[in-house]
């Protein structure tokens, strides 16, 4: 029973195809406005795309081919949505909130409450059963919302940044909870946090400008990112261009020398990826092969762990605070970023 989606929505420049196995969880990563929430709205039936088709096994969620034009109403789709706000119904107790799905599916009041109690226990919120949403903390409310979504027994669980509105103490708790309940379940989770992708998802999809720019197993994407967005998430520098004998040549003519992946041939599109810790900062140009030396203007200095991250446009370097002080770095200064070719990985884009 695979979930298949193929949808386009011109007004939001959205065109995505993806498929999802019965027990697979994927994380959707991407900058704001990339179409992540649009994706969930289309799947759950809150937003109608121009064209496309979506199925879960035999069940057709929508099929907008001119001759078919099938559109299943949201309540018959089996795609429960969990947003960053818990959105618990304020007039119902936690228990009745969780019982809402089973009740809507036609269960008796008593049976629905039994199911609700089971799921509240599952998310360690059974002691909150009689509370009103107004009496719950953000983390508690979100746990109850997880129970409510699961109690509806969805074929596909949609999570839209479920941790985004929680404080730093509540988020890890919910993340552990989600890891437990998402196991063996089909889910799509939108997140900005690389930790969510690592812990919760089997696969990641990077969405940029309404298009999938990269996808693959989470670890692989983080270790060998091909999109600038994924590289940023993984905390890596990424330079894209055309592969030459010397390395990668960008559209602006910058040449980055590095270690070529065995499979890549000159002339192909490729990326050069290197960690900020491999970058040294000098005030004057350093010569000596095999090194890369780029003149850059510092845009920002910010603390990063016990290092100082020196940002210069899209590149960044991590140096010690002492080194930063010795060099007298300030934003607007012109410096040289120097990277050993051995520290740069080059592979196909």
């Amino acid at each position: 029973m695979t979930f298949q989606l193929d949808a386009t929505l011109a007004a939001r420049r959205f065109a995505v195809s993806l498929s999802l196995g019965p027990t697979e969880t994927i994380a959707i990563l991407g900058p704001n406005g990339a179409g992540k929430s649009t994706l969930l709205s289309i799947i759950s039936g809150l937003l109608r795309p121009d064209a496309g088709k979506a199925t879960i096994g035999e069940k057709v969620l929508f099929d907008l081919d001119a001759d078919k034009n099938i559109w299943r109403a949201p309540h018959t789709r089996g795609t429960a949505l969990l947003a960053q706000e818990a959105l618990l119904f304020p007039h119902l107790s936690a228990l009745d909130n969780v019982a809402f799905g089973p009740r809507s599916a036609g269960a008796s009041s008593a049976a629905a409450r039994d199911t609700a109690m089971h799921w509240l226990t599952e998310v360690d919120a059974d002691s909150l059963a009689s509370r009103r949403p107004g009496q719950l903390s953000g983390g508690q409310a979100q746990r109850v919302a997880v129970a409510r979504a699961l109690a509806a027994d969805p074929d596909l669980l949609l999570l839209d940044e479920p941790m985004a509105a929680l404080d730093i103490h509540a988020a890890p708790l919910l993340r552990r909870l989600l890891k437990r309940v998402l196991a063996g379940r089909r889910a799509i989770i939108i997140t900005h946090d690389i930790l969510d992708a690592l812990m919760l998802a089997d696969r990641v999809i990077v969405l940029e400008d309404g298009r999938i720019t990269e996808q693959g197993p989470t670890r692989e994407v983080l270790e060998k990112p091909c999109s600038r967005f994924a590289a940023g998430l993984a905390g890596l520098n990424l330079v894209a261009g055309t592969v030459s004998d010397a390395g990668v040549t960008t559209a602006q003519g910058m040449v980055v020398a590095g270690q070529r992946d065995g499979t890549i041939e000159p002339g192909q599109d490729g990326v050069a990826v290197f960690p900020p810790s491999a970058v040294s900062v000098f005030l004057t140009e350093e010569h000596g092969s095999p090194r890369n030396s780029f003149q850059v203007i510092i845009t920002d200095l910010e603390p990063h762990g016990d290092q100082i991250r020196v940002r210069a446009g899209r590149l960044s370097a991590d140096i010690t605070p002492a080194a930063s002080a010795d060099l007298g770095l300030t934003p607007g200064m012109s410096v040289y970023f120097v990277i050993k070719a051995a520290a740069i990985a080059i592979y196909p884009a």
Partner: protein
Amino acid sequence: MYRRSGTGYTGIPAWIYAIAAAGALFVLLPLMAMVARVNWSQFIPLVTSESSRTALGLSLRTSAASTAACIVLGVPLALILARSPFPGQRLLRAFVLLPLVLPPVVGGIALLYTFGRQGLLGKSLELAGIQIAFSTSAVVLAQTYVALPFLVVSLEGALRTAGNKYEAVAATLGARPGTVLRRVTIPLVLPGLVSGAVLSFARSLGEFGATLTFAGSLQGVTRTLPLEIYLQRETDADAAVALSLLLVAVAVAVVGLSYRRPRLGVAPEGAVR
């Protein structure tokens, strides 16, 4: 110059308080003048006379009936106006709200030409053996006509404030639209619905012009309390003042008991961004 009230900063300039006090006085002074004019020794006999009791009873019954009619007609109207955009929505809203600004007597004439014996629908109704004009039903129709916008405005505002996020979640949890309306939408906007209904009731209770035009003034049938007051004023000023005070008391009781400070239909949620 600014003034502090309690512990919070209000940002209201001092002269605003002076004008607000004048405004409050403008509303209260006529009521006090009326109270001063009451003939207290005759008050009880005046308000318990048969014609008074009949008029009060009729007023309460017809106002209750028209409030019910406002809820039945107004809830769907407010939902349509607040939720689904459609061509002509602004026009429909303008027409629904028209009775708010229309002189009630004009509403009465319009109703007469609709439901009266020679009216648009009245002729067919007459053939079916139903006569509406100058009956108690006409009183209810007239009151509903003028009171409906109060319910629609108040409920539409509550619906817009509540938004449709909860409805969307309810739908993804498997609730059909009817269930969403019954278990989510209506409970969420219940405070708005209640205050709208109270306003409608109060407006119905005070309705005069449309009632007189469309329903006439037959004792026990269409002569509601405001009509009785107007009639008594010609002959017995003391009775008119006493009944006015009664109407004020009823209105204050109804509004005071059920119309709280307007508040959001949704409990504030800490995590809302």
